[in-house]
Symmetry: C2
Amino acid sequence: MMEGLDQRTLGVLLFPRFELLDVCGPLQAFGMLKNLFDIVLVGETAGPVESSQGPSLVAEHGFEKHPPLDVLLVPGGVGVREQAPRDEVIHWIADRAGSASLVLSVGTGSVLLALSGVLDGRRATSNKRGLTWARQQGPRVQWVEVARWVDDDKFVTASGVSAGLDMALYVVQRIAGPVVAANVARAMEYEWADDGKRDPFA
Amino acid sequence: MMEGLDQRTLGVLLFPRFELLDVCGPLQAFGMLKNLFDIVLVGETAGPVESSQGPSLVAEHGFEKHPPLDVLLVPGGVGVREQAPRDEVIHWIADRAGSASLVLSVGTGSVLLALSGVLDGRRATSNKRGLTWARQQGPRVQWVEVARWVDDDKFVTASGVSAGLDMALYVVQRIAGPVVAANVARAMEYEWADDGKRDPFA
């Protein structure tokens, strides 16, 4: 899976009050590798979507029409609680996660994945302040309490907010190798916490 | 300066091909403190502005009309080289940096500040890969080669990309104290590199 260094389409789900860094941390890393990732932002409808922090990112596509997604990234944020009961969103995630070859989440984004059923029986993590809630929402998920990120085959779920950056560099390493991942971290002047099992916030 | 915990307007300059994390790292931190910061994004004209990594943020205001800015944040990115010779941008920065009580930059954003003249005689830093270029563009700036960020009174300049997040937490600490800064870092599950003099990328 994910073999080869051809470009893949990475789709990011945007919803109102997504967590800004959940999206922009990973996209900073992936966006430095344009030969590997074609980034598309997808909202329920195309247009600006306001983050929890205020600034709006632009969804280039709506749910109805967007390119096929090889990689799906689902962020967290306070908006997850509004999106969680919405069938349109949960069905879209289930469908796109099913066809993607790699599915990523940051923070409470894993709760949306859990509600869509795609994490049933899988190991996953979430924002460490939200694990009790995650467990209630996804009782069939094997929630990992101590992890910066968890890799379970095609699902890689990160802990809260800044953990998404570390997870993204891990995904770069998984796809393109440790030298490329280290180069991206260096270009970002970022001291990559490259051990997914080390979790200072558990 | 910056005494008191009343809300201040924090304006972020957006220009084509800004570095995504230079903006979104600091805004993640500042955006968690809505009682302290009212964030506004300002472009030459209002509307979406594409980052170097691809995703677009929305400038709510253009240069001609925006609220007074108490704090100005200037990001870096490959787009700096296109903006550097443009009088409209440099004049806007000089004017707004003059009236702001606090001026922040990330990465090569400090080159735009230098070109506007406001860093003359001041200590500042920049992206560590771009220091030679910074020195050429701002010969009257005292460029600091080893620094995660540099605080020179009303100017706080960060090194490259992810350093903006550490600088922003420092600014939160300067305004609201160490407990608030630590709480924001913890909510982001971020291990704050809180020593501005420590620079692994110098």
